[in-house]
Symmetry: D3
Subunit: 252 residues, 6 copies
Amino acid sequence: MPIDIHLLTPITTRGLRDTAPFQALLGDDIHLSHSLLDRGPASIESEFDAAMAVPDIVAKAISAERAGAAAIVIDCMSDPGLRAAREMVGIPVLGPAETAMHVAAMLGHRFSLLTVMDRGRPGKENMARLNGLDHRLAGVEAINIPVLSIEGARDEVTAALVAAARRTVERDRADTIILCCTGFSGLGVAVEAGLRDAGYPVPVIEPVPTTLLMAAALVRAGLAHSKRAYPTPPLKPMIGYDFLDASGRLPA
Amino acid sequence: MPIDIHLLTPITTRGLRDTAPFQALLGDDIHLSHSLLDRGPASIESEFDAAMAVPDIVAKAISAERAGAAAIVIDCMSDPGLRAAREMVGIPVLGPAETAMHVAAMLGHRFSLLTVMDRGRPGKENMARLNGLDHRLAGVEAINIPVLSIEGARDEVTAALVAAARRTVERDRADTIILCCTGFSGLGVAVEAGLRDAGYPVPVIEPVPTTLLMAAALVRAGLAHSKRAYPTPPLKPMIGYDFLDASGRLPA
Amino acid sequence: MPIDIHLLTPITTRGLRDTAPFQALLGDDIHLSHSLLDRGPASIESEFDAAMAVPDIVAKAISAERAGAAAIVIDCMSDPGLRAAREMVGIPVLGPAETAMHVAAMLGHRFSLLTVMDRGRPGKENMARLNGLDHRLAGVEAINIPVLSIEGARDEVTAALVAAARRTVERDRADTIILCCTGFSGLGVAVEAGLRDAGYPVPVIEPVPTTLLMAAALVRAGLAHSKRAYPTPPLKPMIGYDFLDASGRLPA
Amino acid sequence: MPIDIHLLTPITTRGLRDTAPFQALLGDDIHLSHSLLDRGPASIESEFDAAMAVPDIVAKAISAERAGAAAIVIDCMSDPGLRAAREMVGIPVLGPAETAMHVAAMLGHRFSLLTVMDRGRPGKENMARLNGLDHRLAGVEAINIPVLSIEGARDEVTAALVAAARRTVERDRADTIILCCTGFSGLGVAVEAGLRDAGYPVPVIEPVPTTLLMAAALVRAGLAHSKRAYPTPPLKPMIGYDFLDASGRLPA
Amino acid sequence: MPIDIHLLTPITTRGLRDTAPFQALLGDDIHLSHSLLDRGPASIESEFDAAMAVPDIVAKAISAERAGAAAIVIDCMSDPGLRAAREMVGIPVLGPAETAMHVAAMLGHRFSLLTVMDRGRPGKENMARLNGLDHRLAGVEAINIPVLSIEGARDEVTAALVAAARRTVERDRADTIILCCTGFSGLGVAVEAGLRDAGYPVPVIEPVPTTLLMAAALVRAGLAHSKRAYPTPPLKPMIGYDFLDASGRLPA
Amino acid sequence: MPIDIHLLTPITTRGLRDTAPFQALLGDDIHLSHSLLDRGPASIESEFDAAMAVPDIVAKAISAERAGAAAIVIDCMSDPGLRAAREMVGIPVLGPAETAMHVAAMLGHRFSLLTVMDRGRPGKENMARLNGLDHRLAGVEAINIPVLSIEGARDEVTAALVAAARRTVERDRADTIILCCTGFSGLGVAVEAGLRDAGYPVPVIEPVPTTLLMAAALVRAGLAHSKRAYPTPPLKPMIGYDFLDASGRLPA
């Protein structure tokens, strides 16, 4: 019976995420399940957006665990709700930003993030610092193409990513690159080729598929989060969330 | 006209918080307004509880700013929603944990937190690290008296706090103490006296009144949060929060 | 009865410091007292100058406490004598550099200092590191206008400060600014406006008035320095300081 | 065709390492190849032992890559030769200590290592610091049973490991455990059960199988080490290593 | 012509410091000159004492340089006036605490300080942090024998030092010891022997002679402090120091 | 009888190292002995080269100690084999990179390394971090002249070093320079003069002679490495190293 890895896309916008390439990557032994939010933001571009997503992220994480998922990956580079979800379920919950940073630290000496807008930089720097990887973070480089324009402009986006990657490799001495936006999905190979053509042998990490594979590896290793670090919260009344019952529990 | 400082208690339980002592402390020049949540947890004891409080914290922060508040203090030692609220309003938003740690760093060399339960320790250590104060955090010491029992057991709680403070002063070389629970409100003087009787001249910080005073000082200094560090989020559809309109905006 | 906050200007040059704007800012509840040194340097531009100021800073701090001051602010961005004065008095002693850095850390993500000359940079970096704020210090930017020329060139200095602030905001990603020289007093509003006109919503901290307000807040909160961190020194003969008696004590 | 992951056991002692359980864990899609050293130490208990193993580790890594391996795991908790091997091959080379520390940082808040002897502690602390994880390292706890006695004393070793794990969980607040010796192989489940019986829900990481799974995940993600961080060395004469030809190259 | 190394004992108490053993250690090629203060404290036990010593430390440093000294060592474990003296002279100025910490970091993995009283601990921790060696500082252990009693109680002090060293070796895993008080002079060999008898092969650093030797090594290497890091201060009026002329200069 | 300091040049290429200037610097009281490797790389330009040098470095260190050396300096800026050699001998073993960084930290505020090629940068940054000096490392600046061309191009190399030093002084605010290549030997005075001519009073450290002098100072101070930090390894079979006997011991 295949292992079920659950990809939790923490927005309410339908139709943006195609999971077929991930399923192909994971192979036959792993089944990829998927959910979107019923309540929350259309997209995540701020700490506020992320915060508004968390209540339903936790609900969806509980549902996924009940449905038999062996691990959960939150499909957003802000890693929203990572700690709250870890408290509420027993299976591993991974965030692509945290995971990609640890992987980058194992692959090279200094990594940079390529992103859409500069405004997420303090959040990313805080995340690196919490994980002890601030001395490995070479830079955060924005391509300044509006998110909604990314879909229809793959060539332009790829060129912008290669240019941004070169800038941070040359100026910040980055030797490893993380593609830090869901919209860049599938462009890793092209960016890596673009860097290689410029003389830079630099790996380019696509965080979501990498994190799905890491989640499957943890499941096979029999590992989950420490419930001593993320203890289950006591139940209590939780007003205003109609998907919870009076004691704050998600109905079965 | 007095300055309006808004105390935002991020739980739905009525009647626990008496703001009269804070108003007396702030004096006539400052008016203390107060709100509780309409949607959220009965109390905050976990990352999950904190996350469930944030959507209405942000709503109440927006309302307070519209009603003329000059600054907001979030009345919880987890500082829930601090960054999201800073994005959504232009007035200063302070958390008592972050503020008390910075004040403690100015008053002494190493500070310890006295708390109710040990489970909040990773969150507090992360907060210290993000603020660069991890090398100043001497310890986190729990008194292990259930929160609901605190109200009716002031003497017992005071004795437990003095004992816990002595432990961390002697074992961890703490020289400054932070009372890290709303339930300890008003006990600072007694704990400080207990330590002095034991030969330890150690200041004891009550975070909420200290933070209210700091907020008033910032207002008088004409200072607010950097909107470059906490930029206003773009508006977007936000499903499932009936207090927001279709564009994600709080109705006037 | 108003609280007495004492501003201790640690130089011997008369007439430079006008305390009237600070008194206006502090309001009727707070009385601002003021002293200059009788022994020490004409101005402070080096570690040597700062060291030569400290003996009389401590004497003036003891005198201020005896005269009824509730707190002391040392009026120099090198924070000279901060630790020695904290040992010798029981009331809070604050330095504007240390205080402004902690305030900046609460208002934004990364702060820069604007200063007159580049030579103070190692001292400022050491101060940030001791306070755990080195990862928040974006830069130190000098305007290179001689101190003695500042008084008569307010427009030129303001323009230079706005230009320096823009440089560090754009190049170092500073989102909060600290005016790091007494000579810049009163220019904060103009620098903040200049940055806003350039599209940067960045708070500008004037350290001395901000620190006076923080000192008043600490007094109202009933807080003082930890005498366990700054214990009173044992008395002993102290040769060559005629303002001390034979046992090293300041005569009453 | 299955992926070939190569386990490189960096000692010359035959017969100690049974790879069958690892092959079972990896499944049919992955083929586990294995090598021991022809030149080097009988076991690794010091920096000297580790250094004497490195020349043949690099030779075996080159041979494994030539034979078609997709990734290499060095089978020793000192991670000997990690950087030198990464320079000399293009496929991923992982060390179990570095990998287990990053995994532990993702699973909990603070991890401890259980080891045989105390003398390896500085090396482990240095490794944690280089990876930015020193603030996550709760402790290093030795069981003080001679390595050669471990094989025939599984029950005694398990009991000692459970006791050591409890000590570091209780005293150092570890919430995640890493079994830091090849001799502890297969005991993770029993140690985790022993901790659970004592009331501590703490994951126990067996580094070698976990690292084999991580290596397979990296291969599937198309990732390898950054050759910009680990550039291929220039060829040059290398005297005294008869397995290299005159130009320092390993003969085909 | 022998090199002149100047030992500057920053107190006014005559007769305590016997330099003969240091001269013997330095050999014929080095001449040890010596000075005490004319103005300053009888001994240094606080930040205040240290601050009161600095003006005359700088004066004596200038005099020593004028008299032909090739380097200066400040004979106190608080390193008072180190930075101010470096600004005012061109020859190397070393402090025994800073130097001993760097030497300890080269000799072992973690070092502890043995001292007389616990009150100096924050100052020592700050010094370690400024030099980046806080992660190497295992502990500060006080023997609690009054300074004035040390002279007449060598056997008792030695026994107390061995006991304190054992405590920090066993409890804090120190592997290198620094004797952090002038009064312990000459006891290093006995403490090292006491530790060896207890099974601990741990070097014991006597900071002052070690720093004198390091100063001589710097002189022979042709090295002095960076005047870019410690630039010469501008001259200015300095009131109340009768040993300076009207422009703040030490008369020739 | 003079002290014997042993310079261990860890390459097999004869004739490159002239020790006469070092002997002159050390004076009559110190005798400089010297060895090269019999087995190992022709030069050290990578982690692989360094690793291949270590087995014979340890052998030569043991031989030097047996021959009466009082201390050993490894003559390479990668400090290869430092920890392994410290385990195997009882006399001090110093590396010029580690030593020069600690000396630079005592002479200035921020230091930069001048090197030949950029590829050694991660190794140097790791070394600085292990020693706690990463916050003092301003930069690593390569001159990009092939090593083999350095010998015959002293003027060109000097000019390139002065230019590189100016770049890092101006751009990175370095105030202390370390010449980080054996090929730059003897050029320190010229580089220091070049910087002084450009207005920068910056000391330039030549690591090898400085480290030889530091080693002599340690010997005179009676100090050696902590055998508790670097314990002697247990003897064991070591296959493939014909200079060791069957028990892994170097024959007498």
